[in-house]
Symmetry: C3
Subunit: 220 residues, 3 copies
């Protein structure tokens, strides 16, 4: 039990770091100052959890009750800032490897946030409402990224990205289904998280995309 | 009573459909994928209600306690997607008629959401606070559309649209006034909703607009 | 006590006016209609307080329990509208003086909102959680401005502005520190607010800025 809690926590921290890197890099690209970089590093890391807690009425949100997540995101954003200031010339190869590492960490984060979010909803007493559990789980996973994109004036990335929220839905649904079947919760968590990671990595590798409406005569 | 509840519910569903169509069409225009289309279909349909419930402390929001609204918006978005994929060439006439039907449904939705929102605030125990009741009613009606526009990077449409939020204000205010006068609530609802619909249709027909500051020498 | 409460209240009202002017001017620049101008005047004035109250679970938010702030912001926005309509040709000198007055009032508002926000968090029972108190204080001060910028499609100004949120942090932190030291709360409030005002005016005067990452080869 102790060990599994430690593994879940480590996965959460990996996710926080990946999400914070994504926010800090976007902030730098948009020429924001150090405060903006830190703010946009923290937003994707804790924004989904804040939404979850507001929706469940669990106030003040968890980020205030256990500041470790904000603190890790804060340090990550600072680190990204210094790396960007001092290491300005990256080879394309380093760029690619960095991108791939971040992508894997992001998948770990998405999976963990979604499953932990669904689990939080169950423990808040909504175990009988599968629609709520799954939706709140997905919001926990993707809400922070949506906020991040809104803050820098982008249409949220998950509305166009290779199968992202859908991977979260599958993970949350599976986790909830195993909860209904009364399986071991730790086991269910690992399965749920693993499925999300697997789907995300396959979606990236095979460039899966959801269908769109083909548009020819567009005004814009 | 039963019959009037059914009529109110039908009006709500008409509104959900109209709001979902508006979101889905914008998502398609912005080239979002199917997830984005569904998300942007659901957002305007339930976003205002979520804001209302968070402001009133009625958590989890009603959309989680009765998923029918999300479900209808979901189906509507899917339907819009398929119509857009398979029926690509519209005549201008069909476009115009469609637009007019949606506009009427949107007016029905706005009126119903505003009045039901105000009524929810009253039943949550805030009947003595007219400012709260009217404001929360209007937020219920227009909040989802504001979120929709933020998500796709537009300045919210209601900040420039022919008398929209104002129509909602009039409806919410009238409903509250009739509540104070202790009139029959069902009667008050129908009057409130009808006024909003009437104002919206007249605003569209006569191209009413609120005043702006005329700007000549603009920098941007 | 009475006198100090009156001073704090006056400082809040100065802040509400300054924030409302900022929102109304942006709305006019973006060619919004009168409703948009009023909405964008009210948003920065009360948005941070609404966020604070939602995070603390103090619902309905204070703006609904005491509408004076909304009312002042409403009147301010209307006034800005009429001034802009009737006094179209400003000399550069009047423009500059107006800007400077607004900037001072904005500093007063930021300081007061931050300290009152931190104080609200303490009185809501979170006095032992310094991280929460300081963060909620800063959110109270800057949250409304972030919302205002999102609504008009700008990247929030405080992500690039001369030392703004940082000034709020310093004020909230100092106020909390004096609370821990059990100093007289009124005294602590005045010190906290004064520090924020001082930092903001110095930041504007000396053009202090937080560091950014210098970017040469930018794609966009």
């Amino acid at each position: 039990m102790e060990v599994s809690a430690a593994i879940i926590f480590s996965a959460e921290i990996l996710g926080v770091i990946a999400f914070a890197v994504s926010g800090a890099l976007l902030a730098i690209e948009k020429k924001l100052d150090l405060f903006g970089i830190i703010f946009l590093g923290i937003t994707p890391a804790v924004g989904g959890g804040v939404m979850r807690d507001l929706l469940l009425g669990a106030v003040p949100p968890y980020m205030f009750r256990n500041p470790i997540y904000v603190f890790v995101a804060f340090l990550t954003a600072i680190l990204v800032f210094f790396i960007k200031v001092y290491i300005r010339k990256n080879s394309d190869r380093i760029r690619l490897i960095t991108y791939q590492i971040i992508n894997i960490m992001d998948a770990v984060g998405l999976g963990t946030f979604v499953v932990v979010g669904a689990d939080t909803a169950i423990h808040a007493g909504f175990g009988k409402n599968g629609f709520l559990v799954v939706t709140v789980g997905v919001i926990t996973g993707v809400g922070g990224g949506i906020l991040r994109d809104l803050f820098i004036g982008h249409i949220p990335h998950i509305f166009r990205k290779h199968v992202y929220a859908i991977a979260g839905f599958v993970g949350a649904f599976l986790y909830y289904y195993m909860y209904i079947l009364d399986l071991n919760p730790i086991f269910a968590m690992f399965i749920g998280i693993s499925i999300v990671i697997l789907l995300r990595l396959m979606a990236t590798y095979f460039k899966w995309n959801l269908p769109r409406v083909p548009i020819e005569d567009e005004r814009r």
